[in-house]
Symmetry: C2
Subunit: 397 residues, 2 copies
């Protein structure tokens, strides 16, 4: 009993001093057995509390820059002790969902839920509904890969740059060599994007490999913004506000320096150093990068994945990376990629650009695999595309 | 111009859809050249906005459980456009500081600052004032180590468990073997605690090694709560609320299973597998662990660090780990540790327990190094202790 009392004493005092700023006692979100979800927020002084998130129907928002779909809101109702609640009227389909509260017009994170995702400069809470697609995003009782944050030397950029690498379960002691997927983020993202709970890359790979649906592979997640040495807060630039407006974005510089990354990875990890054991895929700007990098270095990647790719005209660019696109594509497809995969959401603002690109591929008779999903330019789709794309890779191993 | 327009278009739309929930435009915190700091918060509807943080003088708070020191608060004043501001009257000494806002009684994170630290179930914003001790916590233009999250097998606990490992700059290609510091967290912490911006372990080690003050070393940060496979959110237990009240805390189980960790590390990394090349240190509960692990396995660690150690009586415990403490200590000190280091803050609630322990060491004539700091049981001290302790390790290499 002395033991227990001592621990409790320590715990209380440690809490009082370490945690510093008090505690919240409500449970939020609470996922019920039928997959309805209750949100709770304690604030006796509030006049109006709403929840906003991607589990609610979207609403049209008009801005001077145009109309776009914003996530909807729902009202919490005040009950006893200043606790506001909202329960979804219907069970939610299995998925990873984002949400925040809006308290008297002020957006706040749910203080009862420490689980949050940063996406560029926005932080939202999240939760997962299991029983379907969302299960790929959970940590399960399966063998786990390792996640490594390291720094590579880029002679082309004359920088040390940060890199996230997933090595598959068993890598440390197997002595084997593995194929490599290079997985690229979107504009405003960084080397944390895919490994965060936005992308869930390590959970998806662990679960796909454990279920036998994907081959064990190394996944390399570089930083595609060459103005950055590393993600915001992880570089000597200090604690700058993350931004989607960075210099040297999509000007050919990242693509031109990409072999530095492949060289580092092949030198540092037990990779299979050949085209049929390398894949490159990316979301949005990363899809643009994957398109141009795979065309620029046609002997480097056997598999290509364009996830909601930002397929943009580049005739105005002076970069040699974007010159002679048709010739480069002819050379790339003459070598018959093992897989050229295109995924896009029906509501994506890049849908037409992707449809036009597919038309061009069709006209040339170039083979690709096409996957069309609901929804727009959101992480939900990019996680889905990774669960569909990764199983198609390296099947000959 | 087409290029630029396309990028901007993409950026705006990507922001509109990815970021989902709007943006804040104020700059907060703003660190001025003289190291005064301005906090800003936009909320036209608020009646009262305060900032609370560890840069403010503490205040006594009375609770049914006793009186303790809580961080103070300061009032922001409303200016134009609903922007509230507070500027510190004095420059702040160089340090990493935590803060939050309190808006009409509701604690909220600063929405203009995405940089946050989770400590158990509390999330605060942070910022760094440079020019002194705080510089050890910054990412600088120096060679960087790698940070690895991996899983080890614990036959003793019959679990796969998650582990954070820092390897020093150059590890990947040097072919050399390195000494190892095992660095343990406090109650309610986990394998993320020391590597988070609370502990700043990777920044501290990078900077100490680059400045020649510390030897290149591997740092192993395990999870000291044997009820957990991994940090909250990183295990199959799902998104449970982090808690300092976990079962099997300080009951001898972690200490008894510690050789599983050393075995994994020695098998997986290029370590120097001998006592003089192994150190163990920990904060609070981790200091307790370091004390008992180093005494239980006197041939394992040449260096021991107790950071605000929770030195608690264990006569009531049935664990053999805590039996025959005096005999174990005699055996440990008979082998003359290269360093037995004790650090404590003058205001720490464990100050007396540490003074009593030192008295016991003095009576037995056992040598140790003692470091006393200002303040209490807080991360500020544990970061400081690491910057003082690490340079004393492995000097013979």
């Amino acid at each position: 009993m002395l033991l227990l009392a001592s621990i409790l004493c320590l715990t209380l005092q440690a809490n009082a001093q370490q945690a510093l700023f008090g505690r919240q006692e409500v449970i939020s979100p609470e996922i019920h057995p039928d997959n309805t979800v209750t949100f709770r927020f304690r604030d006796a002084k509030a006049i109006e509390v709403k929840v906003t998130g991607d589990f609610l129907p979207t609403q049209k928002v008009e801005t001077p820059r145009g109309t776009y779909d914003a996530p909807g809101t729902a009202d919490l109702k005040e009950g006893e002790n200043g606790v506001w609640t909202y329960t979804t009227p219907q069970p939610l389909p299995s998925e990873l969902y984002l949400y925040s509260f809006i308290v008297d017009g002020l957006k706040v994170n749910d203080p009862a839920n420490v689980y949050r995702i940063r996406d560029i400069a926005t932080i939202n809470n999240f939760f997962i509904i299991g029983g379907g697609q969302g299960d790929w995003y959970r940590v399960k009782e399966v063998p786990h890969g390792a996640v490594i944050r390291c720094w590579y030397d880029s002679p082309t950029l004359k920088m040390q740059r940060r890199l996230t690498i997933y090595t598959p379960p068993g890598y440390a002691h197997s002595g084997k060599r593995y194929p490599v997927l290079y997985l690229l983020h979107g504009v405003g993202g960084d080397e944390e994007a895919w490994i965060s709970r936005g992308g869930c890359a390590s959970q998806i790979l662990d679960n796909l490999i454990a279920s036998g649906k994907a081959q064990p592979m190394i996944v390399v997640m570089p930083n595609g913004n060459v103005a950055q040495e590393a993600a915001p807060g992880e570089s000597p630039a200090g604690f700058v506000k993350p931004s989607a407006n960075l210099p040297h974005t999509m000007d050919g510089t990242f693509e031109a320096s990409f072999p530095d990354i492949v060289n580092y990875v092949d030198k540092t990890f037990r990779t299979i150093k050949k085209k049929d054991s390398r894949a490159i895929a990316g979301l949005s700007m990363g899809g643009f990068h994957a398109l141009h990098i795979s065309a620029q270095y046609p002997g480097m990647f056997g598999y290509v994945g364009l996830f909601s790719a930002a397929i943009l005209p580049r005739e105005g660019s002076r970069s040699p990376i974007y010159a002679d696109q048709d010739k480069k594509m002819d050379a790339q497809f003459a070598q018959k990629p093992l897989l050229y995969w295109i995924g896009i959401g029906k509501a994506d603002f890049l849908y037409k650009a992707n449809a036009d690109y597919r038309k061009k591929l069709d006209e040339k008779g170039y083979k690709y695999v096409y996957f069309e999903s609901e929804g727009g330019h959101i992480w939900r789709n990019w996680r889905l595309y990774l669960t569909r794309f990764a199983p198609l890779l390296f099947q000959k191993h």
